[in-house]
């Protein structure tokens, strides 16, 4: 092994530690209550995970939460970003999830069509 290789392994695996350190830039919270799951939240969740992996984004964690009481708009996803307002999205299918990753998380512009609520 060369010094360079050690550095590469370190960089690659450092991002795996983000879940344990809890120091993420963005937290994506997918509503995984019964109605969320019925509306396809499992696929939404997987789409987030796949897209984030594909784009090799290190500082995002994806977690789940329960019902928000707005069943007609499930799956519901909240994007929490440090020092920015929290954005709640509704009707987040797997496709929308991929768009959220590309446009909101990477480029910083929320998808206004799907926003249900903006809160501090």
């Amino acid at each position: 092994m060369k010094l360079e290789d050690l550095k590469k392994i370190r960089e690659k695996h450092q991002k795996d530690m983000i879940l344990r350190d809890g120091d993420a830039r963005v937290r994506v919270v997918v509503g995984m209550g019964t109605s969320g799951i019925a509306a396809g939240a499992r696929e939404t969740l997987r789409a987030f995970l796949e897209e984030i992996e594909k784009r090799n984004i290190a500082d995002v964690i994806v977690t789940q939460a329960g019902e928000r009481g707005l069943s007609s708009h499930e799956p519901i996803v909240t994007v929490l970003e440090k020092s920015k307002p929290n954005i709640v999205y509704g009707n987040v299918t797997a496709d929308v999830a991929r768009k959220i990753v590309a446009e909101h998380i990477v480029n910083g512009s929320p998808l206004s069509d799907y926003v249900l609520e903006v809160s501090e």
């Binding site: 995970l49 796949e50 992996e53 789940q64």
Partner: protein
């Protein structure tokens, strides 16, 4: 796919003993059943510390801390928490008011006062995965030594950090290295002393099980500093899991080229071998350890020559303890000043203690030097169960001594403990409450040393045995007041004339209990009474006539038929026949038996 949950199941020896593997296997099955295996990382880690509550598991990112897990809980945890994001509160630590306490692991008082440096990775990474270690800055310190530092600079850094040997004696690590580096000769060795033998101590085991690469990296750094290309890890056979994980880690490091020829393309070559000890306590003494590594009988030899001049196969040798080695990478990466900023004037950094005895949270804790015993026992340890009064804290195992409750606010470092008549030792910390008999405790440790004496020199072999006889006599109620002076006299001679550390320190528990708890010894001798009601020969059981209902429960339980009496009449214990076993006391439902 990116993982969304890191599930860390403790694989420390204590959790394995409480069947954490069964739980883990069941959890893996249930996760598979729910088709979640690509989203969830299930990792078996080293010891997390709160062994009392095992098997334990932490789920990140929320940091939910599950305790006392059973295989049948797996289904609910997966369905509720892993799938729907609702931690199962009744299985969490301190349920039901768990939620806010448990959400962040660091808010649990057990962890709050701790400062994890050496144990940073233990319970946090997968010890069998080299990549996780490297992802946490693993082998970066070695890389820095090899590319940016000279051996002398490494030694200077360790010297100015103030790191002292964590095996017990507290010898400055940098100085030890300097002496070995200065010694003449091309062939030098480094040795890791993992022969952890104090009853109740398991710091080294936890580090080897939970973060074996940190010890390997530390040894490579010390090899580079002193100019050694071979090293040995001397570890006891009673630690099979530690040996297995260390072996696995060595294979990985060799495969990756982090051990072997020209490490990281430098001109430094270094490799390690494991030597398994048969579990003799004396082999933790460095000269005995070296004899054992060489294949001889593990017996100490006189010093000088010191190992730094003539050690293994008469070559200069550096012997460092596991915890000392595990500190090194942090010192190299974060700097000597960072390390020296923790602790007291003469004792820097943190210390890992194995907390046991009569305390609520037993397990492994890492605290900054200079913390008080009170903080360890009451904040980290959660106090004494049943609100009993603390009597003393025993540090340093059979080589140490006890520190009575009135000195609980002393900041802990090597010097302050020595002043109180104890030692830092390797880190065993046993909490004793009002129900512990100090004479009996001193006898226990002395018995241990008598068993473990190698028998080579007479003060230790004969002297300790004589001291034990006197103690046995006292606990049987046959002691004389002169015995106490005799004990002190013998202890002084043994300490002054024994060849090695075992004999020189074995009388310490007797001396320190005599110093602080002489009244307990005197009660055993003058009044033939054990105040803590531990020494069975001195306990008397009598039936209180006004409370006895004549139910015959005690008479039926008595194994030697010492109790006589008819149904519904008052019973009587024949003291001549009674063997003080306490069976009647346990059997009586009317508190009619008095124990004194």
């Amino acid at each position: 796919m990116k993982k969304r949950l890191d599930v860390l199941v403790c694989g420390g020896a204590a959790c394995i003993a409480s069947h954490s593997q069964d739980f883990k296997n069941r959890l893996i099955e249930v996760v598979k059943d729910h088709d979640l295996e690509d989203e969830i990382n299930i990792i078996e880690t080293g010891c997390m510390g709160p062994c009392e509550l095992g098997p334990v598991m932490v789920v990140y990112p929320d940091g939910a801390f599950y305790i006392r897990l059973k295989p049948e809980y797996a289904q609910r945890i997966v369905e509720e928490h892993f799938l729907k994001g609702r931690p199962v509160e009744e299985f969490l630590w301190q349920a039901p008011e768990a939620r806010k306490i448990v959400e962040e692991k660091r808010q649990i008082p057990f962890f709050e006062k701790q400062h994890k440096v050496v144990l940073e990775n233990c319970g946090r990474i997968d010890p069998e995965n080299l990549n996780e270690y490297i992802g946490n800055d693993g082998y970066q310190a070695l890389a820095r030594c090899l590319t940016e530092m000279t051996p002398d600079v490494v030694i200077d850094t360790v010297t100015s950090s103030g790191l002292r040997g964590r095996g017990g004696a507290g010898f400055p690590t940098g100085l030890k290295w300097k002496l070995a580096r200065r010694s003449a000769g091309d062939v030098k060795y480094v040795v890791c002393n993992a022969d952890e033998g104090d009853p109740g101590a398991f710091m080294d085991r936890a580090i080897l099980e939970g973060d074996p690469h940190s010890v390997i990296e530390g040894m490579a750094i010390s090899g580079f500093a002193v100019g050694a290309s071979r090293g040995f890890v001397y570890v006891r056979a009673e630690y099979p899991l530690a040996v297995r994980r260390l072996r696995r880690a060595l294979e990985q490091a060799r495969e990756a080229g982090l051990l072997g020829e020209s490490i990281l393309e430098s001109d430094f070559s270094f490799d390690l071998e494991i030597r398994i000890g048969a579990g003799a306590f004396v082999c933790g003494e460095e000269t005995a350890l070296m004899a054992s590594v060489e294949g001889h009988r593990g017996m100490p030899s006189p010093k000088p020559p010191y190992p730094s001049e003539q050690g293994l196969w008469e070559k200069p040798t550096v012997i460092n303890n596991v915890e000392t080695l595990a500190n090194l990478r942090h010192i190299i990466l974060k700097g000597a000043e960072w390390f020296a900023a923790m602790g007291t004037a003469k004792s820097k950094g943190t210390k890992v203690f194995a907390l046991s005895g009569n305390v609520t949270n037993t397990g492994l804790v890492e605290v900054p030097m200079g913390i008080t015993l009170r903080e360890i026992v009451y904040d980290v340890g959660g106090g004494i169960p049943g609100n009993k009064a603390l009597k003393a804290v025993q540090t340093g195992g059979p080589s140490g001594g006890c520190i009575p409750a009135e000195h609980l606010d002393t900041p802990i470092d090597y010097e302050s403990l020595a002043e109180l008549g104890s030692i830092m030792g390797s880190g065993g910390l046993i909490v004793l409450d009002e129900d512990n008999c100090m004479v009996n405790m001193a006898k226990f440790f002395l018995e241990f040393c008598v068993e473990e004496s190698c028998g080579q020199c007479s003060p230790c072999r004969i002297g300790l045995k004589q001291m034990l006889r006197v103690l046995e006599r006292i606990t049987r109620g046959e002691g004389r007041l002169e015995d106490l002076d005799d004990l002190e006299r013998m202890a002084g001679t043994i300490k002054a004339t024994s060849l090695c550390g075992l004999g020189q320190s074995a009388p310490n528990p007797v001396l320190s209990t005599l110093k602080y708890f002489r009244d307990e010894y005197e009660a055993h001798i003058r009044e033939k009474r054990c105040p803590a009601l531990v020494c069975t020969d001195l306990i008397t059981y009598t039936i209180l006539a006004d409370k006895c209902t004549g139910c015959t429960a005690c008479a039926r339980k008595c194994p030697v038929n010492a109790i006589s009496g008819e149904v519904k009449k008052i019973h009587v214990i024949d003291q001549g026949i009674c063997i003080h076993c306490g069976a009647c006391f346990e059997a009586c439902k009317f508190d009619a038996i008095e124990r004194r």
